[in-house]
């Protein structure tokens, strides 16, 4: 099993690596298109800001590489938002694997932004969720959210708003929360991604 993690200026690479190590896997952190194309699984982590991240990916030519990858691909947090079509964060055109926009939270004042902490997933049928049972609590930290669209396979409620917490289309998966920080639920989802998808 060769897992590649996309190397760009994202903050949480180390946490994701630790999480994979606990599952018994190593991952290669790389921006080499050849290594990304030949990996069995690709993980696209992300903590940071959309326009800076996109500028970096374009400069390295990684935008074109990523959208054409054919193996199971998982974007996390900002990684997932970058897989959408457009982000309101500095009005950024993003990679576009999912034809859905990323919006800024606009909520009544008692709902703090960032949406930070543990919240639940409302899941539809998908192989990604095979091993989840009961309530699925996951750890979120984000100020922008993905609208609910045709590729949404799980949603989460925050105040009056329902947003996308997991996306899936073909080989592409994205989750808004941090599986690497979501205790046993997150560990189980990462394990499913690595071993079964």
């Amino acid at each position: 099993m060769r897992i590649a993690m996309v190397k760009y200026n994202a903050g949480n690479t180390r946490s994701v690596l630790c999480s994979l190590n606990r599952l018994g896997y190593e991952a290669e952190v790389t921006d080499d298109p050849k290594l990304l194309r030949s990996a069995d699984k690709v993980i696209f982590p992300g903590v940071g800001e959309a326009s800076t991240a996109m500028a970096y990916l374009r400069e390295k030519g990684l935008d074109e590489v990523l959208i054409h990858l054919e193996q199971p691909f998982l974007g996390i947090c900002l990684g997932m938002q970058l897989m959408c079509a457009f982000s309101e964060e500095h009005d950024t055109t993003t990679l576009g694997m999912f034809d859905v926009p990323v919006r800024k939270f606009v909520l009544p004042p008692q709902f703090k932004v960032p949406h930070m902490g543990w919240n639940t997933l409302i899941c539809s049928e998908d192989p990604f969720f095979t091993h989840l049972k009961g309530e699925s609590w996951c750890y979120f930290v984000h100020s922008y959210y993905v609208e609910v669209g045709p590729s949404t396979i799980a949603t989460t409620d925050y105040g009056p708003l329902t947003f996308t917490s997991v996306l899936h289309k073909d080989n592409f998966y994205g989750c808004q929360f941090h599986p690497e920080k979501s205790a046993e639920v997150g560990t189980s989802l990462l394990k499913t991604f690595v071993e079964e998808l």
Partner: protein, 260 residues
């Protein structure tokens, strides 16, 4: 629904936990990693580690501890103590911390908050505020509180709610509000002050200082509008058991992350 968070806090000196932590069935109760694993397994939502020596010589020790914690637990954790500049923060985040907390340094030079938020993102910048009652700041029948620094020893002449608001405006992602008045007394959190700070900022507020009973947690969540509550000795000494506390709070209508 977003859950309210329960956060145990561990004081660390030279890479080991202090405050006479009393845990049974631990090979080494002074080992921060072992304790972190225990808390993570019993449902703590997050952890906070404070480096109470925080001398320049000890930075390396603390960073390697942070790296070991990151290797072993899969819940978020914050580290703080003696952070002076962006280089300190970069080292801690690179070691695997999710957030850092700053206190005295932010008061000494408020622009540090802007710099950190810009470079690392607001989500990892926690502004810790130590507060003490000061009648000089009373206004229109509302109790006034003053910001203290250097472990609660030095008064600053700054009013707490306005400082919290400034930290928020400068880009802090969270406020950790400790009432020095209530800390260690176990008579309950500073509910009124917590509510005023929580209403004044658009970011989460962690209440700290004063937890003695499960009811105190209910109060600070329901009436104090806290987003999270932090405590140390009552968890370390098993006076309150985290799973039991969460069941109690959930029964009283406070949204809690429960385990499968």
């Amino acid at each position: 629904m977003l859950a309210k968070r329960i956060i145990p806090c561990l004081d660390v000196r030279d890479g080991r936990t202090v405050k006479g932590v009393n845990f049974v069935n631990l090979r080494d109760a002074g080992d921060a990693v072992e304790l972190a694993k225990v808390y993570s397994a019993c449902g703590a939502d997050e952890l906070t580690f404070l480096d109470i020596t925080a001398t320049v010589e000890n930075r390396g020790t603390f960073c390697s501890l942070v790296a070991r914690i990151a290797d072993h637990i899969s819940i978020p954790f914050t580290v703080g103590g003696g952070i002076r500049n962006t280089a300190d923060v970069a080292a801690l985040l690179d070691s695997g911390a999710d957030k850092i907390s700053i206190n005295s340094q932010a008061v000494a030079k408020a622009s540090v908050i802007d710099e950190l938020a810009l470079q690392f993102g607001s989500q990892c910048v926690v502004c810790a505020i130590d507060a003490r009652r000061n009648p000089r700041f009373d206004k229109d029948g509302v109790e006034g509180w003053e910001v203290y620094v250097h472990g609660g020893r030095t008064p600053t002449g700054i009013e707490v709610v306005s400082w919290a608001r400034e930290a928020y405006d400068r880009g802090a992602g969270e406020i950790l509000l400790t009432s020095m008045e209530h800390d260690g007394v176990k008579g309950g959190f500073a509910v009124d002050l917590t509510r005023r700070v929580s209403s004044a900022v658009g970011i989460p507020v962690i209440a700290s200082g004063g937890a003695g009973t499960m009811e105190h947690f209910r109060e600070v969540f329901a009436e104090g509008m806290a987003d999270a509550a932090l405590a140390a000795s009552i968890f370390h000494f098993h006076e309150i058991d985290i799973p039991e506390l969460k069941i109690f709070l959930a029964k009283h209508g406070i949204p809690m992350r429960t385990r499968q």
